[in-house]
């Protein structure tokens, strides 16, 4: 059944990108695209009963991630509509359920709250309808896990076009980096003062860097964020006349903006006064001024790890507890099988083949 994952994913992304082009979150728009694509036919074709069920499960599982971050609000709305459509048009009875993982529930609740605040009542209505139809499984994970270790683990692909507004600037200028800049600046000033001809006073001739670099970067970032938000609001309003007058519209990317708000609040709360304390943490940083971001870490997951058996064996051998030849003799697993029986068994196999 797994061979269907790729085409199903591509069909889901197709309908969602068409929906994205409407720049709307209205259900009517989605339903029109749905009908135009004849999306229910995705369930058509001759299949055995359990094959049909397995396919329903697969397609619901595949569509589920679009309901969650990192996708933007509009795509998540599309994701909800898509799940709704698939749930109602699937051909098995009773219907296969949409599995929600506990870790995602908070996100989904926030999403629903955003929709409510922005008065996207169709979104709320459809979500509530699914709930009241008991269309959900409340589970540990969004799918069954079978420890299917693949030789080449596939990277989790996120459809880039659907992503929430790229927040590269925000990722780059975090509280930590700002703090770092301020620390370095402070340190720089001290060094200048130390080498200066007038002790305690930096040499006015060495004045290459703006003294207020930290606050300056901060205000620039904030200004940029505000501008982005305004653009988003205007875009949403144009696509949605009904909610145009609503001041709460900006919260449609709540996840994002609340994170930003947190960031800004934390930046604000950290005046220079507080940062003096941080010199402790700076001391060790002086040695490793390498401010490599967390990105680097992801690289390590691509390393191939030997299987558990190999690792255990290696571990034991290196400890000298097990000799290498032991690996050979622990092969057969039934105590009852002796060497003699083994040869007998091989013969049995030959004769029994019909």
């Amino acid at each position: 059944m797994d061979y269907f994952i790729e085409p199903v994913k591509s069909d889901c992304e197709d309908i969602l990108s068409r929906f994205q082009r409407t720049e709307s979150v209205r259900y009517e728009e989605f339903a029109a695209i749905w009908r135009k694509m004849d999306f229910p036919s995705i369930f058509y074709g001759k299949m055995a009963a359990n094959e049909m069920r397995a396919f329903s499960r697969l397609i619901l599982t595949t569509a589920y991630p679009y309901l969650l971050p990192p996708y933007n609000f509009q795509i998540r709305v599309g994701g909800l509509y898509l799940l709704y459509g698939l749930y109602y048009t699937q051909l098995v009875a009773p219907k296969e359920k949409i599995t929600i993982a506990l870790k995602d529930w908070e996100n989904i609740m926030k999403f629903q709250q955003d929709a409510m605040n922005s008065r996207h009542y169709d979104v709320c209505y459809i979500f509530r309808k699914l709930i009241s139809e008991k269309a959900f499984y409340f589970a540990a994970m969004p799918k069954h896990l079978y420890f299917h270790v693949k030789r080449k683990p596939k990277r989790q692909e996120v459809c880039e076009e659907f992503r929430d507004r790229p927040a590269r600037v925000k990722e780059l200028i975090t509280t930590e980096t700002l703090e770092e800049i301020m620390n370095v600046q402070e340190h720089y000033e001290k060094v200048k003062a130390a080498v200066s001809t007038t002790p305690g006073q930096p040499d006015p001739a060495v004045n290459l860097i703006n003294k207020h670099l930290g606050p300056m970067v901060q205000s620039t970032v904030m200004e940029y964020q505000n501008w982005l938000d305004e653009v988003a609001v205007r875009k949403n309003e144009s696509g949605d006349a009904a909610a145009a007058a609503d001041p709460g519209e900006g919260t449609s990317t709540q996840g994002d903006s609340s994170r930003r708000a947190e960031l800004l609040a934390s930046i604000k709360s950290k005046s220079y006064g507080h940062l003096v304390e941080a010199s402790k943490s700076r001391r060790h940083r002086q040695v490793e001024l390498d401010t490599s971001g967390p990105e680097i870490k992801q690289e390590s997951t691509r390393k191939t790890i030997p299987c558990l058996q190999t690792r255990t064996m290696k571990n034991l051998i290196s400890k000298g507890k097990v000799k290498e030849e032991v690996m050979e003799c622990t092969r057969h697993w039934r105590l009852s099988v002796t060497e003699q029986d083994k040869s007998l068994k091989r013969r049995v196999k030959k004769r029994f083949k019909y």
Binding site: Y3, F4, E6, P7, V8, D11, D14, Y27, E28, A31, R35, D38, P40, S41, I42, Y44, K46, A48, A49, N50, E51, R53, I59, Y84, L91, P94, K97, T99, A101, L102, K103, M116, Y121, Y125, R128, K129, I131, S132, K134, F136, Y137, F138, A139, A140, M141, K143, H144, L145, F147, H148, V149, P153, E179, A278, S281, L316, K321, W333, R351, F352
Partner: protein
């Protein structure tokens, strides 16, 4: 500053330890405590959301009140969002859903068409029998209500899906992974699962019975060797229900101790419910019985019970999938499933040879039950015994 961020980090990880997250994406989760996970769900959800008795459909008024909009608007929404809007054909002309539409735009359909066309070129169109049986099993249990209302599943029960793999005992097993899928309830004991695992080695009879064929059935391994353990997250859960049960894990633990490995704990299988466990979903664990018959056991999913689940308590652990084995038939009649295997048998065309009970007795014994000729006979348990 540094201290506060560290503290923030640790509290968040503590509080969320029992929210399942991936250890390896799409492979398995980190360990979590099942009961805590269950409670976390129940704390956040309105009990109506997962109730198995509640048949109440939310009315427009309730929805309107909840959101704070006039009922008229809800009426409108109901029309706009009606599932009928998803229909792509006139109401009175339902399409043939067995047919993939011509020239489909959807990638999925193109692939399905390719596969179907290919299947039709095969001389023998194979409907997989495994699939048929699986569908049958699924349909048996779905939404099943108990006869006695006492046996109705309690509200908020959790269901764990368990996957039990079978060891490669015969050559044939090499080519596929024989498995058995079960659903167990959070309130059930580990021993309930153990009793539901049907493994051939439990039915095995040890010994040669050519002189006393009638005695054979009394020596089934299951009754003789009752010990077993489940090994989960560093703990051996031993079945100690009967006085003759032994702690099978002892050898392993002693070995581990003598090899500088961390010491393992033990617990009793019959005193532990699934709710009590701390485990990783999707992670292979071990079930061992009959001394050395080892099965890989995976918990593939844990979720709150649903209205459409089998609601009869008594039917759990519920079998949801079982690999069907091909049976070996009698060498004489080729009709009945074999029960005996003989060696050094001058009556037999092969060595060893399989017989059903009737043919075996007719061929090897006179009407008085006296053994004819010289041969050894061993009771044979067919892999299809549990089909």
């Amino acid at each position: 500053m540094a201290a506060s961020s560290a503290a923030g980090c640790s509290t968040s990880s503590n509080a969320n330890d029992d929210i399942p997250t991936y250890e390896y994406i799409d492979i398995n989760t980190k360990p979590f405590h099942v009961a805590t996970f269950e409670n976390l769900w129940k704390q956040t959800l309105n009990p109506k959301y997962y109730s198995i008795r509640d048949v109440h459909q939310e009315t427009d008024e309730e929805f309107a009140e909840d959101i704070g909009i006039p009922t008229g608007t809800v009426e409108e929404l109901k029309v706009i969002c009606n599932p009928d809007t998803l229909r792509c054909h006139p109401e009175n002309q339902p399409p043939d859903t067995d047919v993939v539409p011509a020239d489909p735009g959807l990638m999925t359909l193109r692939m399905r068409k390719r596969r179907q066309d290919y299947r039709e070129t095969l001389i023998r169109a194979q409907t997989c029998r495994q699939d048929l049986y699986a569908a049958e099993l699924e349909n048996l249990a779905i939404g099943k209500k108990p006869v006695d209302p006492e046996d109705l599943l309690p509200e908020g029960e959790i269901i764990l899906s368990v996957n039990v793999l079978f060891p490669v005992i015969t050559e044939r097993f090499k080519h596929f992974k024989a498995r058995q899928n079960l659903q167990v309830l959070g309130s059930q004991k580990l021993t309930d699962l153990r009793d539901a695992i049907c493994c051939l080695s439990d039915l095995q009879v040890c010994g040669e019975f050519s002189d006393t064929p009638d005695m054979a059935p009394e020596f089934i391994s299951k009754d003789l060797f009752k010990s077993a353990f489940l090994f989960l997250e560093g703990i051996f859960y031993n079945d100690m229900r009967y006085p003759e049960c032994k702690d099978l894990s002892q050898t392993v633990r002693e070995w581990a101790e003598s090899h500088d490995m961390p010491t393992f704990q033990t617990a009793k299988m019959e005193e532990t419910t699934f709710r009590d466990l701390k485990l990783k979903v999707g992670y292979p664990y071990l079930y061992c019985h009959q001394g050395d018959c080892e099965h890989v056991v995976l918990i593939t999913d844990i979720r709150l019970a649903h209205r459409d689940d089998c609601l009869d308590l008594k039917l759990y652990p519920l079998l949801t999938y079982k690999h069907r084995m091909i049976s070996r038939r009698c060498a004489v009649c080729n009709l009945y499933i074999s029960r005996w295997m003989t060696t050094n048998d001058s009556f037999a065309p092969t060595d060893p040879c399989l017989f059903c009970d009737i043919c075996f007795r007719m061929l090897h014994y006179d009407p008085e039950g006296k053994k004819l000729g010289d041969f050894q006979a061993f009771p044979y348990v067919d892999p299809g015994a549990f089909n």
